[in-house]
Structure formats: structure tokens, C-alpha cells
Amino acid sequence: MEEAAVQPTHVHAPPEGFLRKYVFSLDHKVIGKQYYGLALVSVFIGMVLSWLMRFHLVWPEVKVHGLEVLSASGAPGGVITPEYYLSLLTMHGTLMVFFVLTNAPFAGFGNYFLPIQIGAEDMAFPRFNMMSFWTTFVAFVVLVLAFFIPDGPPISGWTAYAPLSAVGKDAGPGLGWGQNLWAISIAIFCIGQLLGSLNFIATTLDLRAKGMTLMRMPICTWAWFITSCIGLLAFAVLLPACLLLLLDRMAGTSFFIPSGLVVSDRLQNHAGGSPLLWQHLFWFFGHPEVYIAILPAVGIVSHVLITSMRKPLLSAKVLIYSMLSIGFLSWMVWGHHMFVSGMNPFSSLLFSFPTLTITIPATIITLIWLGSLYGANIQINSASLFALGFVSMFVSGGVSGFFLAQPSIDIYLHATYFVVGHFHMVMGVAAIFGILSGTYFWFSKMTGRMMNDSLGKLHFWITFVGTYCIFMPFHYLGLVGNVRRYASFVDDFMAPLMPVHKFVTIAAFVTGAAQFLFLYNLIYSRFRGQLASENPWHGTSLEWSIPSPPPWNNFGDKHPVIFHDPYQYGVKGSKGDFVMQDSPEQIVGG
């Protein structure tokens, strides 16, 4: 890797003109912001959909004024039908998992900061990088189109289980063109992510600055690198799966549709397909996708915590090896999503062991954080609060994973709110806390202005308490047998649980409203925030060695040379209690 020390001349010309600067930009920083912006739009759409679902669960007969304009058949007179509830659920899950949890922590922050943190001028393939974003954008447009077609969005959930997703409109509303659009969108999304992963891997391997050995890369760079390796394999499997699904739907093949299937009193003209095959292919992508969402957040949070604690972690190396182990093990556990699918019980046992094994590196990571935090004089600000909140969510959501990893318990809990609570905490909210921590931390670098910290802290406390109020009760609801994916519970045996559901719904509205504080802070600070210095947090990694915001070619005509490990805190440096990675000064103390 010695040759990686040689720095490139400019890989592309300075951007000129509005289109090249802001739209079809080759600059990794603009592309990172575009991904982040797309995730921001998606997360607010996804959140409003979750509000509609929560509203319908507790007040199923009450009108939502204006909703009938969006879907006359799905919400006649503004009242959501049970089928439209499932459409909202599908779109919420798809937007959140693909366009938020994949886009923001990995593609957004990764694009912006990975090249800078390794001392590169840009990604290895800037044109592929641009194509990657715009492909993802097209995927987003295709998905959202499903809201505006007469058929409406699909009702098969973000997992699109076959044969429901494969047979077409006979199976219900949204399963005509709505489901086609879903499958086309996800196939396009896969292409975008494959291009992105390819870029991340080649850039990390070949464009590192002189002295930037692999072990000198910041933890978040490692996290993005590992995530890109996972993404490369995961999306390479989901893409052909979507192709086969589309062929079943549009070309009459029978990959996933079994013989003799009667839907809506009509015999489906298919033979011999395997619905389980879809589950295998989907979850072979789906479980690694959990780590695509969470590992970048693990990296970001570690980076923020170290800077806030002003001391290195107990062992950054062990944390990196643990992330690598999680990445490796993520390929052996997809069957734990299929314990109730009718799969051979011995297979369940086989998938249970590696699932439980994943808890070992996850626990090691947590213990490294907690051990490092012990006795640390941590600086409390919005970024570090969200990082601490992430640790809390990661532990709370992770612990319920111990239960679900065991087939005998999962069989009872699988179709209940327990699972919904588990994955929302450990994958959804935890990753979003990572995104928010990264936003408060890196906003100054990305825009040249600071975010309002008081507003950020208020945002944190409402979000932190609010998410616990929403998702902890889900676990209890699940334990008493509250099934998931039902549109309402008022008239059946779950009616006694309605007060809990009302509490959750109110918490969801309050927590969601708090996100508008964040949005206001983001927009206000962008234009009116306090001007940021080059290194407001006294960080040591390379992003803090260049102006805020960075110039188009990151380091100008400088070619950074790396002398130190990424986290030299608690030492006597010329600028304070830290020494930057590219500073040639000798380290004293520490």
C-alpha cells in the first residue's frame, strides 16, 4: 500500500456553473449533502406516515382532513381503510430503511467525510459517485409515485413477502402497479448503492494519504468501509431478487408463486414457485441491511464520544475488530427472520447460534464505550448527548434481541409488537440518534456555521424521553400478545390495551413535533448560525485541518502527510490537549 502515499493531482476540474456545482456535481461533499437532503425529505414523509398510522390505531373512525385528496379509495372521506393502513406501513418502512437509514449515515456522511478523513481529494470515481446519487433519487421518485396512482402504494410491507407481493392486483389494493413501482424502485436503489459501495471501497484502499495506514483511519472511516463491503454483497443479492419478483409479476414466470394458489377466488396461472425463496433472498439482504444502518452510526458515535471525552477509547482496535466480526457474522443469520416460516426446525437452531454470537462483539463495543466513559470528563453538548442517547438505545434495543434470537421465544413473539419495539430501537431510533449526533458535530464543517446548542439539547431531551415512551411500551404490548400489522384493535380482545396505544400515539406526536425544532435549527443555523472556526471541537482527524466549509478540492494544494493515530487526546500539544493527525510534532504525555 506504499503507493497510496502518492497524492493525486486534481481528479476533476473546479466546478463551474450552477448545474455542475449544485445539481450534477462530481464533488463528494455536494453528493454527501444531496444524500443527506434526500434522507431528510424521506424521514419527514416517513414520520408523517407513522403519525397517520398511530392516529388510525387509536381513532380508527375519525377523519384525517385532506387525506381523501391523496387517496380517495384509501381514505374515503378522510377515514383510513385497513388496506390503506397497510399501504402507509409499507411506505413508512421502505422510506425509512432504504432512503433514511441507508442514505444518511452511510451514503450521506460517508460521502462527505470519508475522502477527507483519509486525505483524498475526492472519491476514486467521481462520475460513478454522481450517478450513484441520481440513481437513488430516481428510485425515490419511482417509489413515491405509488402514492399518486389510482392503485395506491402496495400493502405487502417493506419486506414484500411473496406470494402476496408476486401475484398482482388480485391480492388487494396497491398490489398492481403500486407493487411494480416498489420493486422497480428498490432494484434501481440497489444499483445506486452498488455504485456507491464500489466507490467507498476503492477510495479507502487506494487513495489514502501518505502515512494513513489502515489502522490510522478514524473509527467512522472504518465503519463506512466495513458497511460498504456489507452493502456490496447485500444489494447484489436484492437486485436479482427484485428482478425475479418483477418477472413473476409482469412476465408470468413462477419463481415465487406456488401451484394451485387461489387468490380472490381466482386460480393463479403459476406453478411450482417457492414463496420461501423470496424470504431467503430478501433476508440475505435484509439482515446485513441492519448493520448497514447501524455500523456507520457506531463509527460516528465513537468519533463524537472520543472528541467529547478528550481521551481515546479503551481500545479502538478491538472496537474495529468487533465491527469486522459483526460484518462477517451478518451473513450467517438471515434465517432468524424466518423461524415461523415453516423452515426446518434444525435450520432455526443453526441460525440461532450465530445470531447469539453477534451479541459478543456488540457487547464488547458497548463495554468499550462504557469503560471509556467511566471517569471521563465528557463535554456535554447536543452532539455528545445524542451519542450517549445512541448508546442507550443500542443497549435497550439490543437486549430484546437476546430473546428473539431463540426460536422457542421468537415463535411466540414474532408477530407481535415486541419485534416492532426491538427493531425500531436498535436499528431505527439508534441509527437516527447516530445521524443526529453526526449532524450536530459536523454541521460546522459542512456549512461553516454552528448549530444552536440550547435548541439542540431541548431537541435531544424530548426525542430521548419520547422514543422511550413510544417503543418501550411496544415490548410490553408484544409480551401480552398484541399482534402487529393490524389496522385497529378497538373491537377485539386487544381493546383493554387501548390506553397504552393512546399513550404511545400521544408520545409519537410530541416526539415527532420535536423534530421540527431540529429542522428549524438546521435551516436557521445554515444562514444565521454563529460562524464556525476551522476546528471548533478541537478534533484531531483530517476534517478539522481544513477550512469550514472545505474548498472544492478539500486540501487545496496541500498534500496531507499523516504522523499519528487518529485520537491523540489528553496530551500536551502545541494547540492544547490534542495533537492532530497531520501534525509533525512529537507527542508528550498522554
Binding site: 503507493e3 476514486a124 476503492a202 456490496l232 447484489a236 436479482p240 418477472l247
Partner: protein
């Protein structure tokens, strides 16, 4: 190692840098890894689907073997071109260019040949959705042809670049294209074995 890279840069076009020359090679290997994964997913789908029992073997048209010869031969012509490529000057460029054009032609013969194979199957009444075997046959061969078309595009860019503005081959691009093209041949041999044995 580093000195080799410096030499390469000196002998390639001005805009190419050592890191980027390496990245082109890393990138193509990463892409190959992803494509392998996609075909592994399709192969395991085939094995799962075969368990359903409605499996009717199809007779492969003879032209498929001629296509195989054309594709394997194209790897040979590409290597002939590569061995004659001089990245620093125009000398011997013409030789190399001719071999590259031969590679491109053989690639096109392969694609046209695969179209003939599909026609032969249609003449037998085997369409995409006729049987599960024919479904997999069309999926495997069409997805492979799509990837070959990607290789044909890369070859065309290489030839156009050499024949016009730069007038010299860029080593990293040539190597990346060659690796990809050879992989297309190897992948096809694998697919032909799967198709012959399983379909």
C-alpha cells in the same frame, strides 16, 4: 513497488495518478465480486426452485457452443492486444488497436449468437414463462448478455480513446477492461456448466 507505479504514471496520460490507477483495478475487482454475488444468488434460487419438482430439461441449441468459442477466443485476442500495447507512445498502437477491434467483433458475435439461441428456443415453443427451466435459462443468459454489453461499451471507449484524442492507451483502463472481459468469459463457462447440468 512504488517506483513501478511512478513509472506507470509517467508513461500514462497526465490526468492519471498512481492512486487512481490502482483504484481502477480495485474497482473492477470489487465489481466482479458483486456480480459473482448476484449470480450466486440466482444459482441458489435455481437450486431451491428445482426442489419443487416441475423440472423439465431443455435441449440446448448447438449454436450456444459456437458462442462459447467466440467469447473464449475474444479473451485471447484481447491478450494479444494487451501484449502489443505501448502505453507511452504511438508505436505498435495500430497492432494493438486491431486486436482490440477483433475482440469487440467477437463480443458482438457472442451477443448476436445468444440472440440466435433465444430464437431457437422460441421455435421449440420455449418462452420465458413456459417452464421453470426456460425461465432460469432466459434469466441467466440475458443477465449475462447485459454484463457483456457493459464490457463491449468499455472496449468501445478504449478503442475510441486510443483512436482519437489521447492516441495512447491508458494502462489502468486497459487493464480494468481486460480483467472484466476475461471475467465475462469465465462467468459464461460457469453458467454453461450450470445450464447444461441443471437445466
Amino acid at each position: 513497488m512504488a517506483s513501478t507505479v511512478y513509472q506507470r504514471v509517467a508513461s500514462s496520460s497526465a490526468s492519471e495518478t498512481p492512486g487512481h490507477a490502482h483504484a481502477a483495478r480495485s474497482g473492477i475487482w470489487v465489481a466482479i465480486f458483486a456480480i459473482t454475488m448476484s449470480f450466486a444468488a440466482l444459482t441458489s434460487s435455481l437450486m431451491v426452485r428445482q426442489g419443487s419438482g416441475d423440472w423439465k430439461h431443455i435441449a440446448l441449441p448447438a449454436v450456444i457452443y459456437l458462442n462459447t468459442v467466440a467469447l473464449l477466443l475474444s479473451s485471447l485476442t484481447l491478450e494479444m492486444g494487451r501484449s502489443r500495447a505501448d502505453y507511452g507512445s504511438m508505436s505498435r498502437r495500430r497492432d494493438s488497436l486491431l486486436w482490440l477491434i477483433a475482440t469487440l467483433a467477437l463480443g458482438m458475435v457472442f451477443v448476436a449468437g445468444q440472440y440466435l439461441v433465444w430464437q431457437r428456443l422460441r421455435e421449440q415453443g420455449l418462452y420465458l414463462a413456459t417452464t421453470s427451466n426456460s425461465s432460469f435459462f432466459y434469466v441467466f443468459t440475458a443477465v449475462h448478455v447485459l454484463h457483456v454489453l457493459g464490457g463491449i461499451t468499455a472496449l468501445s471507449v478504449l478503442i475510441a480513446g486510443s483512436a482519437s484524442r489521447q492516441r495512447v492507451f491508458r494502462r489502468s483502463r486497459f487493464e480494468a477492461t481486460a480483467i472484466y472481459w476475461h471475467f465475462m468469459g469465465a462467468l459464461w463457462v460457469y453458467l454453461l456448466i450450470v445450464i447444461s447440468v441443471r437445466l
